[in-house]
């Protein structure tokens, strides 16, 4: 989707999210020189184009008690990666599932998943369930628990939207 200068102003106005007031779209419009109807129309177009992938709240998982979060990585041959990833990504406790490049010899893994849980033991049980479901218990893997989260925010959309490619 080709974003216009107006869209970019709208994105910048939304950088901190939607204001918690009865007419948030009118309020956003005041910050970027659009009326309420235009804000709604532009947002609708961005949802249809997939530029907005979801519209709602983002939880701070640690504040909800999801203290254990693990990046679980696997080394899978190409032909086995896709079927395994499709099974893993459908499990309710697997939140993200990506194929990424290996970096031999330092890093042999090419499938990356995130598994969240309220405690570490539960996450490890879920890892076992996941590898059993996907039939990849024998594949080399590593479980990288997070120890601390230093920054958790979305990308800076104003920064993104100001770029020439945007």
């Amino acid at each position: 989707m080709e974003l216009t200068a107006v869209d970019r102003r709208l994105l910048a106005a939304l950088e901190d999210g939607l204001p918690l007031v009865p007419r948030p779209y009118a309020e956003i419009g005041r910050h970027c020189g659009l009326d309420e109807a235009s804000v709604l129309a532009r947002l609708r177009a961005m949802i249809e184009a997939g530029v907005i992938r979801r519209f709602g709240l983002v939880l701070h998982h640690r504040a909800l008690g999801y203290r254990a979060n693990a990046m679980v990585v696997f080394d899978l041959p190409d032909e086995r990666l896709r079927p395994a990833a499709e099974i893993l990504s459908r499990l309710p406790f697997v939140t993200l599932c990506y194929r990424r490049p290996r970096r031999p010899p330092l890093w042999p893994y090419n499938l990356f998943c995130m598994i969240h849980g309220k405690e570490r033991r539960r996450v490890l049980e879920r890892v076992d369930e996941a590898v059993a479901a996907a039939g990849i218990a024998a594949a080399p893997r590593a479980v990288l628990f997070s120890r601390r989260c230093f920054k958790q925010r979305g990308p800076r959309y104003g920064l993104l939207a100001s770029g020439k490619a945007a």
Binding site: L11, Y25, T95, R103, K151, R156, L160
Partner: protein, 147 residues
């Protein structure tokens, strides 16, 4: 969090109404009123349960790029390197993880061509190599947690 907070949080992970009075619509669906929904969301934000409320953009469809990076940071330098890395506005989040590669951060930039430059600056300022793991294929989108 009480029952209404949980309902709100579970319901509002996606599909927020595009309407003049969106909070009133959400309130109707949950059997409460607009002022209550707004007040609850404001409190959840203050308490740090919400990190963001609003649209989540797909950086790639906007012409931008996102990538995951990892570093092996000597434990004695961890705080110093964290401060350097987090000072980059392109760093969207950053986690310490239990592994030889103990720092994992996400870069988000307006133009994919900027990625090597940002990585190069992080390497120069920290004196440490950065491994870049751009995503080649995504098998799932949504981060959805039950409250």
């Amino acid at each position: 969090m009480d029952a209404l907070d949980r309902l709100l949080v579970n319901r509002l992970q996606g599909g927020f109404p595009l309407a003049e009075r969106p909070f009133a619509e959400v309130a109707r669906a949950l059997g409460t009123d607009e002022a209550t929904v707004i007040r609850r969301l404001a409190r959840l934000r203050e308490e740090g349960v919400l990190t963001r409320f609003g649209p989540l953009f797909d950086a790639e469809r906007m012409g931008g790029a996102v990538t995951l990076c990892a570093m092996e940071v000597p434990p004695a330098r961890f705080e110093e390197v964290t401060a350097i890395v987090n000072a980059f506005p392109e760093v969207a989040h950053n986690y310490e993880r239990e592994h030889r590669f103990n720092m994992w951060f996400v870069l988000a930039v307006a133009d994919p061509a900027e990625i090597p430059g940002v990585i190069g600056r992080i390497e120069r300022e920290t004196g440490l190599p950065v491994l870049n793991f751009p995503k080649e294929r995504e098998y799932f989108l949504e981060l959805r947690l039950d409250a």
